[in-house]
């Protein structure tokens, strides 16, 4: 079965410090992986995706993610967190006929 796991419920980080949100995946074949962000009472916004190619993927708002095949991970990173980055982050993988399987989400809290 295709699945992604986000092992932490909440990530707290001080403003200006590096931010990492973890994701591991379990998919058959070549993985198509995504990160989305959700602000309160809003829909999900696409941040970035890994399809093939470079293991380091750059996305919106200064975020990037590193694909690691040996560790089956796709961690989201930002070098310097902002208070406005406080939100819910979802990792997802594509399977079947363009379906997406989502992790449970990580609440990120950036402390001023």
């Amino acid at each position: 079965a295709q699945s992604v796991a986000q092992p932490e419920d909440q990530v707290n980080v001080a403003e200006g410090n590096p931010l990492t949100v973890k994701c591991t995946y379990s998919v058959s074949g070549n993985p198509y992986l995504f990160w989305y962000v959700q602000y309160p009472n809003r829909g999900l916004q696409f941040l970035l995706k890994y399809i093939t190619g470079d293991n380091l993927v750059k996305g919106s708002y200064g975020f990037e993610a590193e694909f690691n095949k040996s560790q089956t991970s796709f961690h989201l990173k930002k070098p310097s967190a902002l208070v406005s980055d406080s939100a819910l982050y979802f990792c997802a993988s594509r399977y079947g006929n363009n379906r997406l399987a989502f992790g449970k989400g990580n609440q990120v809290v950036v402390i001023p």
Partner: protein, 112 residues
């Protein structure tokens, strides 16, 4: 920019009512999705449509049905609303070319 519009941000319905949630996308996308979001459970796929009048069940289709009579519109129907269907409902669309999905702003449904 892709726009996915859900007809209501907030809805309050009574137990037993038939409820319609509407979603419209303006980018001629082939795929449309309905997800349900609950705290700690992430997003779960209810139904998926890959073409007009075509649909597939997702992970939690019980108590729901869908309709796609036109390419741009995908409706979710709660045949007889129950309190355990109180949730945030998210519509999304994607094309066959692009792998990422684009989401609407969500409908927060409360069944009393």
């Amino acid at each position: 920019d892709v726009k996915v519009t859900q007809s209501s941000r907030y809805l309050v319905k009574r137990t037993g009512e038939k409820v319609f949630l509407e979603c419209v996308q303006d980018m001629d996308h082939e795929n449309m999705f309905w997800y349900r979001q609950d705290p700690g459970l992430g997003l779960r796929l209810i139904y998926f449509s890959y073409d007009v009048k075509m649909k597939e069940k997702g992970d939690i289709p019980e108590g729901y049905s869908v309709s796609r009579e036109k390419k741009e519109r995908f409706s979710l129907i709660l045949e007889s609303a129950s309190t355990n269907q109180t949730s945030m409902y998210l519509c999304a669309s994607s094309s066959l070319m692009n792998t990422e999905a684009f989401f609407g702003q969500g409908t927060r449904l409360t069944v009393v």
